[in-house]
């Protein structure tokens, strides 16, 4: 039997298995166990959640391999970890640690102001952020096997997540209304590979799974993003920066599954304790917006 690893189907396939689920940011094994117990489909191992990166400033880098390893040892669900945009050596290190997905993330300080990582050259799959269709297709063109709309990480404010999901889906819908002669101009306008533009125009969906991220803090936020048509959600600072992470994590998982059932969302939203304090995105200056990172 000849076995092929690292194929497109295998990379994109893992993301298919995460659909309908919640991926949670965790900074230590204890949080990872809480996430798994709550029903997370995967955890994102990182040293500081985005809310802390915002407060503390400085250069945000890949996490300590020792810390990633301790999280891998603590749970049986997939473990993801972040590399800086364009920092292919951080990605090589993460691959060698056996992380299940690498997030080439705007939450960390970018390492290359022009180029993202050539993701085709890796066996480990990558997830990348996008704010619109063109950005999503450029990342897929570089080999990303999963997309997440960026939102604005570390704010607890869901409005940018909504904007990015609506933008992406609206642009896909419009693409399906174009005739063949108009697709090249569309590819130019979206600054996206023509072949991918044509594929999306024909199928009406992205060729990879798309989760929402950046600002989801409540069960209703998660259900909102699901009703807007994303395949699942990332919750970063929203859980472990809240008053009662165990209860909130579980509630967000349940609301993500039963996203069309307001009575269940109401039930799980009761007595959650304090949500993360949050930052109104309107109060952030342009250079403080993480979603603007990535090219």
């Amino acid at each position: 039997m000849e076995a092929q690893t690292g194929s497109d189907r295998v990379k994109r396939g893992l993301a298919e298995m995460l659909k309908g689920g919640v991926i949670m940011d965790v900074v230590n094994p204890e949080q990872a166990r809480i996430a798994e117990e709550a029903g997370a489909v995967a955890v994102m191992a990182l040293e500081r959640v985005p809310a802390d990166i915002r407060v503390q400033g400085g250069v945000a880098r890949m996490s300590d391999p020792d810390m990633i390893q301790s999280i891998q040892d603590a749970v049986s669900i997939p473990v993801m970890a972040k590399a800086r945009i364009g920092h292919f050596v951080e990605a090589q290190v993460l691959e060698s640690l056996g992380v299940d997905y690498v997030d080439e993330s705007e939450v960390l300080t970018p390492a290359d102001m022009d180029n993202h990582i050539d993701k085709w050259s890796f066996t480990v799959p990558f997830v990348c952020g996008a704010t619109n269709l063109g950005e999503a297709l450029r990342r897929i063109g570089e080999g990303a096997a999963m997309i997440r709309t960026k939102g604005e990480a570390g704010t607890g404010d869901v409005k940018e997540a909504v904007t990015h999901a609506r933008t992406l889906h609206g642009e896909i819908r419009r693409l399906t209304t174009l005739d063949d002669a108009e697709l090249m101009a569309a590819a130019r306008d979206h600054r996206a590979p023509y072949e991918l533009v044509r594929e999306v125009a024909e199928t009406g969906v992205l060729p990879v799974v798309n989760f929402a991220a950046g600002g989801i803090a409540t069960p209703a936020d998660a259900a909102l993003m699901m009703q807007l048509g994303v395949d699942g959600v990332f919750v970063g600072s929203g859980i472990f920066k809240s008053g009662n992470p165990e209860v909130r994590a579980k509630a967000i998982v349940e609301a993500t599954t039963y996203y069309r059932d307001p009575s269940i969302i109401a039930k799980v939203s009761r007595n959650l304790g304090e949500a993360m304090v949050g930052i109104n995105i309107g109060e952030l200056r342009g250079e403080e917006l993480l979603a603007n990172r990535g090219w």
Partner: protein
Amino acid sequence: MRVGVLALQGDVREHLDVIESLGHQGIAVKYREELDNIDALIIPGGESTTIGKLADRFDLLEPMKKRIAEGLPTLGTCAGMILLAKATTGTRQNLLAELDITVERNAFGRQIDSFEADLDIKGLDEPFHAVFIRAPLVQSASDDVEVLAVVDGRPVLVRQDHIIAASFHPELTKDDRIHRMLMSSVVER
């Protein structure tokens, strides 16, 4: 026929697509009442811990177990195989325990070890192109369990009466032969 796909989490859509392409009605199952009116059940790929917890919290685990025990033809793929199993090695989690096997989770390693390969399957003339993603393996099976395919000598496709379980994902390829196996066991009943 009406085929339910447990829709708590995972690649539900892919299974529904195969069922519909075979001319049957696919039903995403999220509530226990939806189990009453189906002729077969599929437990999809996904995270077995997540699906097990949600099935338990939303009161689906026992009703599903009862329906399967009564003879409802059932197919589990990957996480679905784990959930059908009697036991897992190394982890403690919610299981249906209707299939007499013990399963080792993530038996091939991490995601970088996930693979696709052609598999010889008992009863099928041509090999089946199988996609294994953080896949489980059957560590042991009772004599009542028929082994239909192996990788490195260990079972990856098994059948016990009306229950079929695969450690790979037939729903991710355009090959519907394993779903047809499920449907033919509905006809037999």
